[in-house]
Amino acid sequence: MALKHKTPMLEELEKGPWPSFVADIRRMAARKPMCEDLLGLLELSYEQKEGHWKHGGIVGVFGYGGGVIGRYCDRPDLFPNVAHFHTLRVNQPASKFYSTEQLRKICDMWEEKGSGLTNMHGSTGDMVLLGTTTDQLEPVFYHLTHELGMDLGGSGSNLRTPSCCIGKARCEWSCLDTQEITYDLTMTYQDELHRPMFPYKFKFKTSGCPNDCVAAIARADCSIIGTWRDKIRIDQEAVRAYAAGELVPNGGSHGTAKRALDIQKEVVDLCPTGCMEWDGKTLKIWDEDCTRCMHCINVMPRALRPGQDTGATILFGAKAPILEGAQLSSVVIPFMKMEPPYDEFKELIEKVWDWWMENGKNRERLGELIQRFGMKAFLEAIEVQPDPRMIKTPRYNPYIFYDPADVPGGWEHDPKAFRERHHA
């Protein structure tokens, strides 16, 4: 079908084996002028190598301070149908299972009230409804809440939509009910999610084990990562079966053919702590030295399993580069049991937020505030004792801010006595 705008460059993106977003949008464009203008605008960007969207301005639904990203085109003269092109972030169900019934309802609604285009999903985890006009925001919200049992996710200086890995729903390694934790936090903190009250955004992400399939440690102000305190469970029979080539190593990740696994080379020698021994018959793990990196379990999923005294390591502070440079999350609670209603965890989080809200500058992420005030101030505020598990190495500079309470006489000198002892 011929479209209003010529898009020769975009057409190049209809070629090739990977599913083409251009071909997909084009089929919508036949019935949606918004999509037609979007393609035209995008072609213009391809020609000029510059984007054509302006800043958002304040659009949203009544009573919420987030969930909508306003967007206006800077060439409404050429592309009037995308003059407004706002996005709604819809809070996804934890771990992103859907019934087709629910999906179809969403599609119908969004074809009617929006562009018919989505992101499945946004990087934070939301279902992203991409592009509608200001007058449609309230109707979409009404429809979401009344017909679909759905609500908006976060944007702006508030709690962002929490997300998680698939966890116990289909993974044998999960040490946490990742969905339950995510759902509970999302529900408990609806107000924080919808009404900006923080210095900046705040993200929770929960992974069931240290493989961290939701990239929590890199992308969440609070990263909740499953782990265990007891021993790795070993099935020695299965270990031998791997060695004998009766089982496929690494669950088939490196080829699905059976082959004899060289346990010494591929498992023991790659263990970061060197805490394993293999004598050709029995695999010994010195669990007290294991740092639960998951490698051996990943390679022999039928022989090794995480322990059963499970819980979470809680880390804080990950973020993208703006302002002070990117950060990964840092260990703050080496181990915490995670059982509903998660009171211990919530008490902790609320202390964290209180401190951040009290001290954080505008647009200062938690990780940056910890940098600025120091880990000590943070730990004191949240009433957590220092632990060597929080650090890679102790300080190597001698610039220690000693606590005056530990010093006889605190910060005071007796200048007169000093000058009696030491003549100037």
């Binding site: 251009v22 995008l42 190598k49 984007g51 009573g63 019934s99 285009l117 609500d151 890995c165 302002l323």
Partner: protein
Amino acid sequence: MPFDPNDIMKDRITDIGPPKYDNFFPPYIKENYGKWKYHEILEPGVLVHVAETGAEVYTVRTGAPRLMSVDYIREVCEIADKHCGGYVRWTTRNNIEFMVDDKSKLQPLIDDLRSRGNWFPMGGTGASVTNIVHTQGWVHCHTPAIDASGIVKSVMDELFDYFGSHKLPAQVRISLACCLNMCGAVHCSDIAILGVHRKPPFVEHDRVQNVCEIPLVIAACPTAAIKPKKVGDRKSVEINQNRCMFCGNCYTMCPALPIADGDGDGIALWVGGKVSNSRTAPKFSKLAVPYIPNEPPRWPTVVQTIKKIVEVYASDARRYERIGEWIERIGWERFFEKTGLEFRHEHIDDYRLAMTTWRTTTQFKF
């Protein structure tokens, strides 16, 4: 009660949150929740998980464009209805997972997917290049230096063979972010594609006072390059161009400081990041190529450079070694040599923690 535009408060429902996750769990997922025992990849894109109960679930993972229309989603639903009892899920990297609870249902599902042209390529499991986490680009955002979806499409077309196979030494996770805000969280990816500006913003003095909060703009600059300035009788700002490293943060705060420039903008490539704690600790991605111009519609230089990196890695690394682990073993001097990438001044850090990245040992390879 339909929506009443004149009384938006009528019957208003708020703060209901998302649907509870298990509303959408297929029955066999609900039943075996927390009981999974092990898994195996049967072929690229196809997994089986086996529960302690003996139950099995077969998963077929397909690549998706992420930016998708309701038509696409409806086609997903059609497949899920036909084979999967009406359930489907998305992964954390924007792939789609179709699940069946019985081996007999697997082949029909696969056949169906394969019959649908190139909409549902199978893969993304194990030691593959899985879907590229990415962001908005020229489709929606106001700060991008590059497009997102078009580059992703171009790269995945070229690496397609690695998506549907297990030929690599380990997982290769590629991400893209269209500006330094890094919404794609590219800072910890095996390969990261990052949109970069290279000109300091220009100041529209006649607009600043009207559209921007000057103190916020000043505070936004990581290098303190921005100062207040009076221009005639208007309040505005001045940028010390020598201190600007083109992050665009000031533009986010103030539309009167445009930074985009078709000729200056482009792509930086980063390598060697990872997220998992497996074997080695999570790592940041490090600069591999400081700048490649935007070359729409197919970005050939970026595509070929990434391909080159992947291929050198594939031929040189040991099994289980992620790109970053491989480079740490062979050394950065060898990485640049083997890939033929040029080592330039931009590679040497000069920001806050720069000192920690210098080589303070005589250990290196000639």
